[in-house]
Amino acid sequence: MRSSVIVFPASNCDRDASVALEDITGTKPTMVWHAESTVPDCDLILLPGGFSFGDYLRSGAMAAQSPIMKDVIAKAKSGVPVLGICNGFQVLVESELLPGALMRNRDIKFLCKDVQLKVERNDTIFTSKYDAGEIITIPIAHHDGNYFASEDKLKQLEDEGRVAFRYVNEIGEATPEANPNGSQNNIAGIYSKSMKVLGLMPHPERLISNELGGTDGRGLFESLVEALH
């Protein structure tokens, strides 16, 4: 499986993503600088976490205007899977590849901790190695992760089964207490209509070996390998 990781100025999870991809897919990804105009032919494009362009104006707003994003958008529209993690998710909503917006966390603070997520469905290229309804632990590290969409859009996302992950408590309930950042409907990640673009705030690439504290993040990459090898 060939993958490309897009690197923006002040991306800081690009190398973590690269290590995870190389470890799990067996192939080192191509690192693609934001000023390039084309992404090499590949099976997966990953937009990594970080603080691209210092989060100026709005998180992800500047990166969404980077030269490379024209080709990322074109490739996504032609069916190439795209995974946006944290700042990558923010770039995806600013690029309108995914609906909604990611606002300042409800309690204003930067959050850096492990959270429980419920895998809403496992019939997608990103989640086949998990069980539907499985509760996994994945770290979050963000200031602007408070997912917002208009009432209509939110209803559409729910009706179309496009919520990928939800923040939940130990027994899988999406309670206000289990919601770290104020996201509507406890949303931690969503799919595009095609189900081939996934954006999520938590960092699966940070939890891929016991030495890092756990392996719950591996399933996402293993699912991609199975679907795209």
Partner: protein, 84 residues
């Protein structure tokens, strides 16, 4: 009539109904300082542009496009443009 360059002032605010955590914090801080009677605080952004434009209508069209494409996220924000 002499050509004068223009300045655009763009005020970006969160839409009604969109939770504004920073505004809420400001509200609480003002209350904590003893300033009573503030019903609500909302925080926004002010962006100023020095433009080479001399035609007001053309400038308004261009700045509106800038707002739609970059300066505001219309999912959550409104914008107002003043030209002078």
């Amino acid at each position: 009539m002499k050509d004068t360059k223009m300045k655009a002032r763009i005020t970006v605010t969160l839409k009604n109904g969109v939770l504004d955590p920073q505004g809420k914090a400001i509200e609480h801080a003002l209350d904590g300082l003893g300033f009573q009677g503030v019903d609500e605080a909302r925080q926004g952004k002010l962006i100023e542009l020095d433009l080479q434009d001399t035609d007001k209508d053309a400038a308004m069209t261009r700045v509106t496009e800038m707002c739609e494409k970059l300066l505001a996220n219309t999912v959550i924000e409104n914008y107002a443009i003043e030209l002078e």
